[in-house]
């Protein structure tokens, strides 16, 4: 039996409320065939092929029903959508899974700060659950970071120190983390939504036969049953979806960098360090790391940047990025770009912010000559403060910017840089 969803035609008022709540746009309104004694003009139709059975429309229609009940004793309308979900029996002893885990990413033997953001949010989750908070540290000659992780709030650190982990390979990391999960049975597992985290998190989830929410920006624990509520932006941030994984463990999520502040360090804080024996001969590793090539220009990575200065088509020419770079340097920011400038070859792809580029979440985002197409906004609209510099006061970017300045960017930016320098010298 497949899942079923249908509308009770005699209860549908054609109000259109369900059309608005449907996240996948599968409900439409059409004219109702004329019928004796029916006062409603429209009728909702659900495209079952597109439906993801999220229950949003059912809840919405039932809510309207409850509201109407206050005024009308027994309304014969609303409560009009019926969904029948196929129940699949899963037998996992969820209670035997304990503890909140965070994956500590290292690159070239250095600990990435994403672990501190994960520890910040995981601390809250673990105290709500009253369970331990642990970190998994994988790398080569990285054991020295374990104490640092404990001081940032972890109760336990699993250290997997082995030459095989020096460079990231999907197969190696997936096998190692899956083995550890199967042995230790954590309840929740958070991983950074970095390139490494995103690359292998879904493989781990599949190998451990559990569910994963990608790119979460909010996380909380349901106090009633202890499940994880992971909220993530979909449709480029225009819609937020809360995802549950009730029957499988561990509940996994990758967490978008910069979504949470870093956990505070408590010097001298104690905890347990568990050295995990690593035996790669158990794994069937076929891929091979050949070499690493560092980025030639020492630029700040946009996904980890607290401040970003971005340039768009309004720059008019490739040389325009010189002034953007200068601006960025002055305030210690990374350089971002909109898609047209990347497509035109003015700046490399790794700078591109937006739907087909990277998603950023800085404290400060300065958009210079970027009109604010939806695809671009999808990549940066969760920035804390947005500043728009543009010739066109009607551009969409002005509508969402915290501060906007109208004018020629080639005139304004040098003046802004000059002013910042002047203020600094006076301090």
């Amino acid at each position: 039996m497949a899942n079923e969803i249908y509308i009770l035609q005699d209860r549908c008022t054609g109000c259109g409320s369900c059309v608005k709540v449907c996240p996948v746009n599968c409900i439409s309104m059409s004219d109702r065939p004329k019928q004796e004694g029916v006062r409603w003009k429209k009728l909702a139709t659900i495209d079952v092929n597109k439906c993801v059975f999220c229950n949003a429309c059912v809840e919405d229609c039932d809510k309207l029903f409850e509201k109407t009940k206050v005024k009308v004793p027994n309304p014969d309308f609303f409560h009009a959508i019926v969904m029948k979900k196929e129940e699949v029996k899963v037998q996992i002893d969820t209670a035997s899974y304990k503890g909140v885990w965070c994956f500590a990413e290292q690159r070239h033997g250095r600990l990435m700060p994403t672990i501190f953001e994960l520890l910040h949010v995981a601390k809250k989750l673990s105290s709500d659950l009253n369970e331990d908070l642990s970190a998994v540290l994988m790398g080569h000659q990285v054991s020295q970071y374990a104490q640092d992780i404990l001081e940032h709030g972890a109760d336990k650190v699993y250290v997997l120190d082995h030459p095989i982990f020096e460079h990231f390979l999907d197969e190696v990391y997936t096998c190692a983390l899956t083995d550890l999960i199967k042995r230790e049975k954590p309840n929740k597992l958070l991983m950074p939504a970095s390139i490494i985290g995103r690359s292998f998190a879904s493989r781990v989830a599949i190998a451990a036969q559990t569910g994963i929410t990608a790119d979460a920006t909010e996380l909380s624990i349901n106090q009633k049953n202890g499940t994880l509520h992971a909220t993530r932006p979909s449709f480029g941030g225009n819609l937020m979806a809360t995802i549950l994984c009730e029957k499988h463990r561990p509940e996994m999520a990758t967490v978008r960098p910069m979504s949470f502040p870093r956990a505070a360090r408590q010097p001298g804080r104690k905890g347990e360090i568990v050295r995990v024996t690593v035996d790669p001969s158990q794994w069937n590793i076929r891929s091979k790391f050949v070499k690493y090539e560092a980025e030639k220009n020492e630029t700040i990575d946009i996904t980890a940047a607290e401040k970003i200065v971005s340039g768009g088509r309004g720059l008019g020419k490739p040389e325009g990025f010189k002034i953007i770079e200068e601006f960025a340097q002055t305030i210690g920011a990374a350089v971002g770009a909109s898609r047209p400038t990347v497509d035109a070859g003015w700046i490399p792809y790794k700078h591109q912010v937006g739907l087909t580029g990277r998603t950023v979440r800085p404290k400060l985002y300065i958009a210079c000559g970027i009109s604010g197409q939806i695809q671009h906004l999808a990549g940066m609209s969760s920035a804390e403060v947005v500043i728009a510099i543009n010739k066109d006061p009607e551009c969409p970017m002005f509508k969402l910017a915290t501060l906007s300045v109208e004018g020629d960017l080639y005139e304004l930016i040098p003046l802004i840089i000059q002013e910042i320098k002047r203020v600094r010298d006076h301090k």
């Binding site: 699949v88 999907d170 879904s202 891929s287 090539e293 609209s381």
Partner: protein, 257 residues
């Protein structure tokens, strides 16, 4: 060599618009199209075909009947044959259930074409994890490929890694890898004529408990529109100098510089 591109339908992003009054997504006129990332996967598959003799490119998708359009589009861009997993039982699948269904679909393709799949290409957001084959994501360049192995450059936050995978392998590509071509006239003709098999869950012998919503560990509990961003202050000033001064003063006040 047999290459398979796995694609996924998505609302055509170029049509996505926000209702200025409510700040919510305008849902009218959202046509489905190939996921923008998948276009790069298709293009790379076709480029490898042009380099390696005797290569066949298949394309696979799972989705509603409308998804056939994107398969035809893929053929018009140079893919040789397409396969469609289409069954209401697949609906509502998450990562886990999707990758299981795709894996079963791949087996079926190998059976009907009598050709093992050597390389699977997918876009950034269709990472198929069920198959037990070596893989790499965020691939920005194929350095070398022959009958037995592929060497790829993987984009990293701070540079790039060169990875070697023996075939069969799976790679997920990023936009930087190529510039997709526009469909040729010949391609369009081929797309029109192509017979695309539609397979149900039964056709691919999928375990019913592992597919669709029922086979998905995760469910969407609720969805909501985030509070719209409200545009703030416009920096005034008669001259550019004044504007610059006022902006910097404001930034200092907000402790941003």
């Amino acid at each position: 060599m047999h290459i398979l591109a796995c694609i996924k339908q998505t609302p055509a992003t170029s049509n996505v618009q926000i209702d200025p009054k409510t700040g919510t997504l305008k849902r009218e006129g959202m046509a489905a199209a190939i996921n923008p990332f998948d276009e790069y996967a298709i293009e790379e598959a076709v480029r490898i075909k042009e380099k390696v003799p005797n290569t066949v490119v298949s394309v696979l998708t799972m989705g509603p009947p409308q998804a056939e359009e994107s398969l035809r589009d893929a053929i018009s861009r140079g893919c040789d044959q397409a396969f469609h997993l289409c069954d209401r039982a697949f609906a509502g699948a998450d990562t886990y259930a999707t990758s299981y269904a795709l894996q079963m679909g791949i087996r079926k393709i190998e059976t009907v074409t009598q050709k093992k799949v050597d390389l699977i290409l997918c876009g950034k957001q269709t990472n198929d994890g069920e198959l037990d084959i070596p893989n790499a994501a965020y691939v920005k360049k194929v350095e070398e490929i022959n009958e037995t192995m592929i060497r790829v450059w993987r984009m990293m936050e701070d540079g790039a890694d060169l990875i070697e995978l023996p075939l069969p392998a799976l790679i997920a590509v990023v936009k930087e890898i190529n510039e997709p071509r526009v469909p040729s006239l010949r391609g369009k003709m081929a797309a029109k004529k192509a017979v695309i098999p539609r397979w149900t869950a039964q056709d691919i012998e999928a375990d019913k408990t592992k597919i669709g919503l029922g086979g998905s560990p995760t469910i969407v509990a609720s969805s909501f529109n985030p509070p719209p961003r409200i545009g703030g202050v416009k920096i005034g000033g008669a001259t550019a100098e004044e504007k610059a001064k006022n902006l910097v003063a404001k930034l200092l006040e907000m402790k941003l510089i």
